[in-house]
Symmetry: C2
Subunit: 166 residues, 2 copies
């Protein structure tokens, strides 16, 4: 958690505009972070005790569940927005557990495609249903229809300078 709140900066480095707005944005950010981490921690815990798995594993499986024909390692890493080396490790373990298979790509011996096994698809279907229910329950206090504005603003945040340039 980035808890940089309630500190008197005096003079900021780059974008020192109105101090009040800046502080308000900082508070908003801290709340955003706190709520997100809270939900994430609950989901992690639920995945751990219910399915003996982890969020990163779930994320990899989710991405591959959607891509029925599988994804190359680089595609996976790009979809999940994590480093190549990171994906390598997670996939290694999922392959060991019989949840994923690596399939050589024709005409390119550098690349491999990764795909869910039948067992992997079945496991994920179960997990996804529970996951959706967990999220539903965790976000119970949020009026989704009224949150549309914020949602759109978040969308803008997340896509800002996100065009692979950063």
């Amino acid at each position: 958690m980035s808890e940089g709140g309630s500190v008197r900066p005096g003079k900021a480095g780059d974008g020192a505009r109105e101090p009040a707005a800046s502080k308000a944005r900082l508070r908003l950010w801290l709340k955003l972070l706190k709520a997100t981490k809270h939900v994430e921690a609950e989901l992690r815990e639920n995945l751990r005790v219910t399915f003996d798995t982890t969020l990163p594993r779930f994320d990899v499986m989710a991405a591959l569940y959607r891509a029925e024909s599988g994804l190359k390692m680089s595609e996976l890493s790009s979809v999940l927005r994590v480093s190549n080396g990171n994906v390598t490790g997670i996939v290694d373990r999922l392959v060991d557990d019989g949840i994923l298979v690596r399939i050589p790509v024709d005409n390119d011996r550098r690349a491999t495609t990764v795909r869910l096994t039948k067992a992997g698809r079945e496991q994920f279907a179960l997990m996804a249903a529970r996951h959706e229910a967990w999220v539903d329950s965790l976000l119970d206090g949020v009026d989704v229809s009224e949150a549309q504005d914020m949602l759109d603003q978040l969308e803008r945040i997340a896509s800002k300078s996100n065009t692979k340039e950063a």
Copy 2:
């Protein structure tokens, strides 16, 4: 918390679980997560290139900056909501770097208080100012005054305590 039936819990208090609402909440969650991760990644990168440090280190320093008389390891871990063992490692490294000191607690040889050194306080003051400016800039697209509702809803989410038992 969401330990009941995966599809239709029907517990006291929570709203009826319509599939559409459930999907909408899932989408909201994914957006929340995406936006948060994006901002967090930017802050991490900024801290790395500008101050050669990390978010966890920043968080520890922030907590101690506010607590002038220092915090015990357990207090630190509770404030930051991370495990004891985790705090041990981060503090170890900050002590090595002369940013923190460990001070024995009178009348309790189990505990130690951790405090920023003078150098640590100075470094953090610089970082906090830049940090606030970064957040201000990253949340530029968000109308904070209009986000109050969402903010309050997030507050509720984050404070929904998980009394694991019962």
